[in-house]
């Protein structure tokens, strides 16, 4: 496309956008709301997934040992753990180390230590579990087997929590698709409607263009671009609101007790995902206008 042609096309599009007025605003708003809700779901999913994978990377099963365990029993246990396929890494913490660690953690609160007669803390093995073996059933079976071994007092693992977050993520993903489809459809419909009005408003000009042999592309392009820009604008507005909302939430959580949801750090959408959200808006707008143009502009 030659440059003057492109300039004229953009000019046409701007004129259309301006003439669109409130109708155009409705289209931008509809796409904005749609993109915003999708963006929220996406952002939540991204953050939960991040938490989840952090959690999975450092996922630990702790095997507390009986105080009366013999050195020989302990070594047998260690060998057994090393041989186990689910176990990525084994760390041993003795009673003394556990106490030292505890003392370090509660420094400044010496009163907590006063009641401590002899060392009440058990020795333990910390196991890191390989990714593939982190499902609820696999862990339950593993823990049950461990608890039957000699010298084992108790096996702790936080499977429920991980499973719940995992479930939440899948629910969010399904909800995202469902909500996205419904809202996307509604947004397309609203855009199609504004473009239809724009087409009607310019019916006379379109008729003239048809008669003098303007190509279909030439006649349609300004309308399709109009929808595209409305979508891009809607997506942009949604993105700004999403970012503002995100900063607000991070700030509020920053005040809340640390560790709540582990969101303290938080993360916004990656640049590619930001582009994706904008593109979603633009595609919705483009689809709406295309639909309208195909329907209301005869060849």
């Amino acid at each position: 496309m030659r440059l003057p042609r492109l300039g004229a096309l953009l000019g046409d599009t701007l004129v259309n956008l301006r003439r669109g007025g409130w109708g155009g605003l409705a289209a931008v708003g509809a796409i904005g709301v749609c993109s915003l809700i999708l963006g929220c779901l996406w952002l939540l999913t991204v953050n939960l997934q991040a938490i989840l994978s952090d959690w999975r990377a450092q996922f630990e099963v702790v095997v507390f040992l009986r105080d009366d365990i013999t050195a020989e029993q302990r070594e047998r246990l260690r060998r057994w753990l090393h041989a186990e396929a689910a176990v990525a890494d084994v760390q041993y913490t003795s009673k003394e180390e556990a106490l030292a660690l505890f003392k370090r953690e509660v420094r400044g609160q010496a009163s907590l230590l006063e009641g401590l007669g002899e060392n009440p803390l058990p020795a333990s093995f910390q196991l890191r579990i390989r990714e593939g073996h982190q499902t609820g059933t696999a862990l339950r079976a593993f823990a049950t087997a461990l608890e039957r071994l000699e010298g084992v007092e108790e096996v702790l693992y936080g499977r429920e929590w991980v499973d719940q977050v995992g479930r939440l993520v899948s629910v969010l993903q399904v909800a995202g698709w469902a909500v996205g489809t419904i809202l996307g459809g509604a947004a397309i419909f609203i855009v199609a409607n504004t473009i239809r009005l724009a087409v009607y408003a310019r019916a006379e000009e379109i008729e003239v263009l048809r008669l003098v042999g303007a190509t279909r592309g030439y006649i349609r392009a300004p309308f399709i671009l109009e929808g595209f820009f409305q979508g891009l604008l809607g997506g942009g507005v949604a993105l700004l609101l999403l970012f503002a909302g995100y900063r607000f939430v991070v700030w509020r959580l920053g005040l809340a007790p640390p560790g709540l949801l582990g969101l303290g750090g938080g993360r916004f959408l990656e640049p590619l995902q930001v582009a994706g959200l904008l593109l979603t808006g633009a595609v919705l707008g483009g689809a709406g206008s295309l639909l309208s143009v195909r329907r209301f502009l005869k060849a």
Binding site: R2, E205, V208, L209, L211, V212, G213, T215, A299
Partner: protein
């Protein structure tokens, strides 16, 4: 230039607007198409610029089979044709010059060339001094002349005019016809539909008479 071979056009099931029309209009001819209201004149013109497809028969325009023409070649066909209507279909929110400019842009005419052409055509129809006014400030005859100038923007081989004088009094109508005759004298093929018998009898030209969708008289065939 324009050939109809046993063309038939039926709207819906019953409405036979054209029945078995055959016609041969040669290059450079000026042809009046007359007949009572509802005879099928407009339908015949619309078939030529592919606004409609016939129910049966074939139509050749400048050597192209309009009936078989793929959709993407329709613009090329229409670039060979100028079309004017009784209601001039001018854009009232633009100036006279802008009305012509819209066409230039659609056809990708370079800016300089477009301006030169608009000036030339407006002078030809005697409206250069009105270039920057709105068409709504012009008389009916002047508006029709703008429409003619616009139809000439794509250098058509053929001019199709559907009741171009329908809204004009006798004097203005004669003006418009004179303009069209000048164009014809310079080689343009013109097909003009009208049910104004007086207009036709003044002109010693080929006249095709339609009645109820049939050609009932043709003094030039």
């Amino acid at each position: 230039m324009i050939q109809f071979f046993r063309v038939q056009k039926t709207f819906g099931r019953e409405m036979e607007a054209l029945r078995d029309v055959s016609l041969d209009i040669r290059k450079g001819e000026f042809v009046f198409l007359t007949g009572p209201s509802g005879a099928g004149k407009t339908t015949l013109l619309r078939l030529i610029f592919r606004d409609l497809l016939p129910t049966a028969g074939q139509i050749l325009v400048a050597g192209r089979n309009v009936v078989r023409l793929p959709g993407r070649e329709v613009p090329a066909l229409r670039r060979m044709l100028g079309v004017i209507f009784q209601d001039c279909r001018l854009l009232m929110d633009r100036t006279v010059a802008e009305n012509l400019h819209v066409v230039a842009r659609a056809l990708g005419t370079a800016e300089e060339e477009a301006r030169r052409k608009i000036g030339y055509l407006l002078r030809q129809v005697g409206l250069l001094h009105r270039a920057n006014q709105s068409p709504s400030s012009l008389s009916g005859g002047e508006q029709q002349r703008v429409a003619i100038a616009r139809a000439l923007m794509n250098d058509p081989l053929i001019l199709l005019a559907d009741e171009p004088t329908g809204n004009l009094d006798a004097e203005l109508a004669t003006d418009v016809i004179r303009l069209l005759r000048e164009l014809n004298a310079r080689g343009m093929t013109i097909l003009l539909a009208t049910h104004n018998a007086a207009l036709v009898s003044d002109q010693a030209k080929r006249t095709v008479v339609l009645k109820a969708g049939r050609v009932v008289a043709d003094n030039g065939a």
